[in-house]
């Protein structure tokens, strides 16, 4: 809890989320306990009051996400976190945030599903996160950390993007990312906006009472209901323009792709495990690379497409087949794509991925 700003501290990914949030300027947290993300509310219940913020343990995820809607509408950096069924309960408010241009930050440390599932790692909420998740047409910006350090760093980007676009941002980790304990440097990333700069992005729409804007200021209203004929169409066109502008935020990491014949596409904890397997196989002379999307929405489709000539792709993810659809869409037939799924809830090692990678390599040679 007393990590200084410069030294490296040994903390869990969940704790890194909490430190990152506070350092990025988060001043309100609302949440409801659920494994495997409980270290986030526990840490913030100490950190936020210490930093002049508010921590509220809500009566449900429904309430927590709606509290977030209220706080974020005031232009105050605010967040919630949950997992699995808890995230399902938040979809109502997430849809309202998207429809009302409200910048909520939601952390999802995924657990196995569907239903109550288990508390092991999973990437089964990929579709829910990147395709909207709530009712109506909406999109969330989705960031996928793979390490505890990235949990810390991406919280800065989460708040900056949420405020830049006045849109919900989901940080999509999983049980491994949240529970893994690693050294973390508690230092804002070089490109991070200062909290005051993040809050300044809200000056044209935040709710504060009209008196806060000087004499004669008009009242403000944040809403998602548009009943007049054609009004909702206009609203959705505006949202489409916003989603198109978000494409500028694509982020990804590629490793050993230059000479690769086969590129593994994976995100989050599976990308780390795949990297270990790839490193081992490259030592044996196999030409393998890794493409790791850091933003899942917007999906880094152009960067992936640029790698297509002369290569094939293997999508590895911990679900029954979700991101593979975005990879297929991105490549649009420009390269062959195969898929390997790790079932939700399983804890796997690099050994479990070497054989599927070798199999995919062989397929290429046939």
């Amino acid at each position: 809890m007393n990590a200084s700003q410069k030294e490296r501290v040994l903390i869990k990914g969940n704790e890194a989320v909490a430190f990152g949030a506070v350092d990025a300027g988060c001043r309100c947290y609302f949440g409801y306990p659920i494994t495997p993300q409980n270290e986030i509310p526990e840490a913030l219940s100490v950190l936020l009051p210490e930093n002049g913020g508010a921590f509220v343990q809500a009566e449900s995820e429904v309430a927590a996400s709606n509290m977030l809607l209220g706080a974020a509408a005031c232009g105050i950096p605010a967040m919630t976190s949950s997992s699995g069924c808890g995230i399902s309960l938040m979809q109502e408010a997430i849809s309202y945030m998207a429809g009302s241009h409200v910048p909520g930050v939601i952390v999802n440390m995924q657990r196995g599903g569907p239903g109550l599932g288990d508390i092991g790692p999973s990437q089964g909420d990929y579709f829910q996160a990147v395709k909207g998740g709530g009712h109506g047409d909406h999109r969330n910006l989705v960031l996928a950390p793979a390490t505890a350090q990235e949990c810390y760093d991406l919280m800065f980007r989460a708040f900056a993007l949420a405020f830049k676009y006045a849109n919900p941002v989901m940080v999509l980790g999983d049980a491994i990312v949240g529970q893994i304990k690693e050294p973390v440097r508690r230092e804002p990333p070089k490109d991070a906006l200062r909290p005051e700069a993040v809050m300044a992005l809200a000056k044209d729409w935040r709710l504060e009472g009209y008196g806060g804007r000087g004499e004669g200021a008009a009242p403000r209203l944040l809403k998602s209901v548009y009943l007049a004929e054609g009004a909702l169409a206009g609203r959705n066109r505006l949202l489409m323009e916003k989603y198109a502008a978000m494409r500028a935020e694509c982020a990804f990491e590629q490793t050993d792709t230059n000479d690769a014949e086969l590129i593994v596409v994976a995100f989050g904890s599976i990308a780390r495990i795949a990297r270990s397997a790839i490193r081992r196989l490259r030592a044996d002379g196999r030409k393998l690379g890794l493409f790791r999307p850091v933003t899942l929405y917007p999906f880094p489709a152009e960067a992936l497409r640029a790698l297509a000539p002369g290569r094939r792709f293997l999508v590895m993810e911990q679900n029954t087949g979700q991101m593979v659809e975005d990879v297929l869409l991105a490549l649009n037939g420009a390269a062959a794509v195969s898929w390997h799924g790790v079932m939700p809830g399983l804890f796997i090692g690099a050994d479990d991925l070497t054989e599927p990678i070798l199999r995919a390599l062989k397929e290429k040679k046939q």
Binding site: G70, A72, K223
Partner: protein, 277 residues
């Protein structure tokens, strides 16, 4: 029997009270979308007068709900936010925690607050959130066309209880003011009615008190307003007012059920002694 002198006394201005009708800058001049005889207009006026007289409209944030009251924000000259159905008290919690200097209020119907939003409403109250909640109880879902509400009276016919609400199948009406009064975080809980001038004036005093406890940081302020819905009751406005007096008040007794500002038995100016919370 009501003696003429009692009745006349009740209508006389109280100290500090002005009975002249004036333009209130907190309400704009847009004609409302409410049906003839609906009491939302009176309730809006009472809220706006409380905000105006307390001088807090400039730092007020309205959290609107879903139902006939969805478009409340069209009529108030204050910052506003739309909440999903039932979630107004949770949204207001977030607003108040993010902006401790704001004056935050929700305006909710009976379906919104006492059915789909009961959990959010009770827990916000129990936490003692410094917000004020105006609860419109008209025993029916208005916006969706007259279905059963949690406050529908036993025997009352609605489009989803065409034989009348029965205790054995649908349960009885939820008495929210009494429930609120049980919670430690509630600073003020009152039930008033909008069927007569006398009751409206009592409601005005209760409304002001429900905001004052927020401003004084005492906790959650709650006012339930028994209101008419001539359209979905299939009554004319005068008969609707009569229904409030004859059918609703016996089931939903008027009074102040909790008042943290006084230790003496509370009185919102109602004829009936309130049950103690």
């Amino acid at each position: 029997m009501i003696r003429v002198s009692d009745s006349a006394d009740a209508l006389r201005p109280q100290p500090g009270e002005c009975l002249a009708f004036d333009v209130n800058p907190v309400l704009n001049e847009r004609p409302t979308h409410y049906c003839p005889g609906c009491h939302h207009g009176i309730a809006h006026r009472l809220v706006s007068e409380a905000l105006h007289e307390l001088g807090v409209a400039r730092r007020a944030i309205l959290v609107a709900s879903v139902g006939c009251a969805t478009f409340t924000y069209d009529y108030f000259n204050v910052d506003g936010l739309e909440a999903p159905h039932g979630r107004a008290c949770a949204v207001a919690t977030g607003v108040r925690r993010a902006r401790p200097d704001a004056v935050v209020f929700t305006y909710q119907g009976d379906g919104d607050m006492a059915a789909i939003g009961l959990a959010e409403s009770l827990h916000a109250a129990n936490r003692g959130e410094k917000i004020t909640t105006i609860f419109i109880n008209n025993t029916v879902y208005g916006m969706t066309g007259g279905q059963m509400a949690p406050t529908t009276l036993v025997g009352q016919k609605t489009t989803t209880t065409c034989q009348g609400r029965s205790l054995s199948n649908e349960g009885g009406p939820v008495r929210l003011a009494e429930i609120m009064a049980q919670l430690d975080g509630v600073a003020y809980a009152a039930r008033c009615a909008l069927d007569s001038v006398k009751h409206v004036r009592a409601a005005k005093r209760a409304m002001r008190k429900a905001f004052e406890v927020q401003l004084d940081g005492l906790g959650f302020g709650f006012v339930e307003l028994l209101s008419g819905c001539p359209t979905n009751w299939h009554l004319d406005p005068v008969a609707a007012n009569r229904r409030i007096a004859e059918a609703m008040i016996p089931v939903f007794p008027l009074g102040v059920f909790k008042d943290a500002t006084t230790t003496a038995p509370a009185d919102a100016g109602q004829a009936k002694e309130a049950p103690r919370g």
